[in-house]
Amino acid sequence: MGIEQYRSLFVAESEEHLQIVNNALLKLEKAPDNLNILNEIFRSAHTLKGMSATMGFKALTKLTHKMEDVLDVFRAQKIPVTTEVIDALFRCLDMLQMLLEEVKTEKDLSVDVDAMIVQLEGILPTISSAAAATFADKKNEIRLTPLERDNLREVLSAQDLYIYIVDIFLSPDCQLKSARAFMVFSRLGDKGEVIKSDPPVDELEKNHFGCSFELLFLTHLERNKAEELLAKIIEIDKIEIRKIENINDIPDEKGIKVKARTETAAAADEEAGKRKEGMAPQTAFKKIQSIRVSTKRLDNLMNYVGELVIAKIRLMQIARVHQIQSLHEILTNIDRLMTDLQDEVMQVRLIPIAQVFDRFPRMVRDLARSEYKQINLELSGGEIELDRTVLDEIADPLVHLLRNAVDHGIELPQERKSNNKSPVGVIKLTARREKIYVLIEVSDDGRGMDPNMLRQSAVSKGFITEDEANKLSNKEILELILLPGFSSSVTITDTSGRGVGMDVVKMKIEDIGGTVSFDSVQGKGSIFSLKLPVTVAIIRAMLVKVAQEIYAIPIANVAETVKIPQHKIKHIEKSEVVNLRNEVVSLLRMDKFLGALRATTGEKKEEAAEGKEIEYNVVIVESGGRKAGLVVEDVLGQQEVVIKSIGALLKGIRGFSGATILGDGRVALILDVAAFLMSK
């Protein structure tokens, strides 16, 4: 197999590691002396280096190698990192991202790795560059995975063996430490088995350790005999051997001693008991828990399921028309299976929101730093899942909302202090599930929006007249920021004037069937809520008939269906309205609107001539707080529809979000209610 085949796997995995490093760096900034975080970054850099080297990507290898070196110094010497170090590591991360981009696109982005390496060397604390010196001693501690523990327990129950924890301290001037360590291993190996070591064997082999290491030694020898094995080796300063009476005294992976045997351990023990193999803790075989699938495949899968749903609906229609009982029976079964299949495929496509959220802490940090603001970004609900199509679409709107919050929401520290606020602003990004929706909120405790300023600005930009401005309530004034071109013209600053206004945010969210709402209190902050559907590929829709054609209205937008007699329709100025439970709802005659004035009006006139009062079928739809009644010829009922793109040619037509194929093979356009209400 050629190395090329691994490219996509390499990219995907590297991206994950870069994300890990990114998150860890953010954490490290808050806890500069946390060794665990440093270790996490180190491990990722190490893995990246290994992968890049295997793939033959020289620049990546070189940079990650240097990163590893630098991190190792801090790690080994337990030196707290400074902001300069974090900044340098962030720059390093950016560069790695660019290098990865090069790998992805096979384009040369002329990344200057050597300059970065010089920078990295610059941040090293003043220590000799000799590799040996960089590995100062840390406290070694052997930790057992549950599997190792169980294997060990099994072996002990079968044979009469002792477990020793052996700590070896080499002389500081020992030259070939790795070979010295090997000698220890080899001596002990003659009379027993070295189960595990800290640092691990591969680190020891690479000389990546200070002057000490710890071993877990299994043998039938008494303690003093075991000690004698090692006594004859030179360059060892000190040997400490502890006998372990209880396996639970050896800490677990988190460094915690197992107090009582948990149920899972007992179960694993039982399972271990079934296996009569000898022990092989280090070669223990892990079952594959998950696999990687390209998103293209998932899209295809979804498409096929969609086609199947359509075929199923057609079959059901045939069964209904021809009254075939046996077909009905099997179809009920198929129907149920289809629903399960559909659910499952949908589940597979779901991705935790964290994948989008995770990139924000860095962004907010950089923005805040560049504007001399102090901001704490609080994330929650990252585990909530969304269809990846939805997830792809919300990233940009969220970036915009967060930028706004940093730029315009959060005040400078001194301003906050003088307003009796904590100098550190808080931006919260939360996600939560609400029925078939996912609610994402971006809130800040900043200065909020000033209605009067918006009023003035709206007038001066010519959006509304001064008279209109004075009539509008504060709430309505706030709504103005959703007007196309409004927000960008009022709120542009050097950093957020990226030409994306709130109207674009709104449009994007509504494109995927979501809604945007917000609130703002002057001096207290603002909150923006995005209400998103969990999935977009298959939706329930109400089918209506207009001028012989069938249209689908997403059920999420349908408030109710009513029959309205002619006399209830009133006219306000030139538009028709109806009073629905004390709410005035404007009516929209779909046939006229869609430009299909056919026999419909004639029929109604005939009916009217016969003295019957005409009753109109009206579907009340709503989107973004607006309501309208759509007058249709007939309401055909609900069914699930598979959304198909209308294709690039017809993309320009507003008012339809897609098309679907009905049971009888006919095509129905799906109404984009949000756009519909806007264009009205």
Binding site: D173, Q175, L176, A179, F182, M183, K232, I234
Partner: protein, 124 residues
């Protein structure tokens, strides 16, 4: 009377230095060899209690330092060989120990290290 030692090194300077260190402590340097083949022959001839063996030596008769360790260990399982290695020869040292060498010292070495190693190897 100190233990009998065979000093193997391709460099005269090193042989002299190791020999001097050991002699000062009362060891008896019974012979010297400058390659692996000679080392094996001398070992059989002199039956020394300890051999110091340079790890990197030119191959003579297809025998280098490690080859010599292997042959000596084959002929005398109780042979006590102390490897002398330069820095960065981790892999070779490991190989020598697997072949049966008892310990190693690294060049440049402290006399005390050599003596300590010699003492421990003889005791083992």
């Amino acid at each position: 009377m100190g233990a009998k030692v065979l000093v193997v090194d391709d460099a005269v300077f090193m042989r002299k230095m190791i020999g001097d260190i050991l002699k000062k402590e009362g060891y008896e340097v019974v012979g010297e060899a400058e390659n692996g083949k000679e080392a094996v022959d001398k070992y059989m001839e002199l039956c020394p209690e300890l051999v110091t063996m340079d790890i990197v030596m030119p191959k003579v008769g297809d025998i280098d330092g490690i080859g010599a360790v292997k042959q000596i260990m084959q002929k005398d399982g109780k042979a006590k060989i102390l490897m002398v290695s330069a820095m960065g020869q981790h892999a070779l040292v490991v190989e020598a120990i697997q072949a049966g060498a008892k310990d190693f010292v690294t060049k440049p070495f402290q006399p005390s290290r050599v003596l300590e190693a010699a003492k421990r190897v003889l005791e083992s």
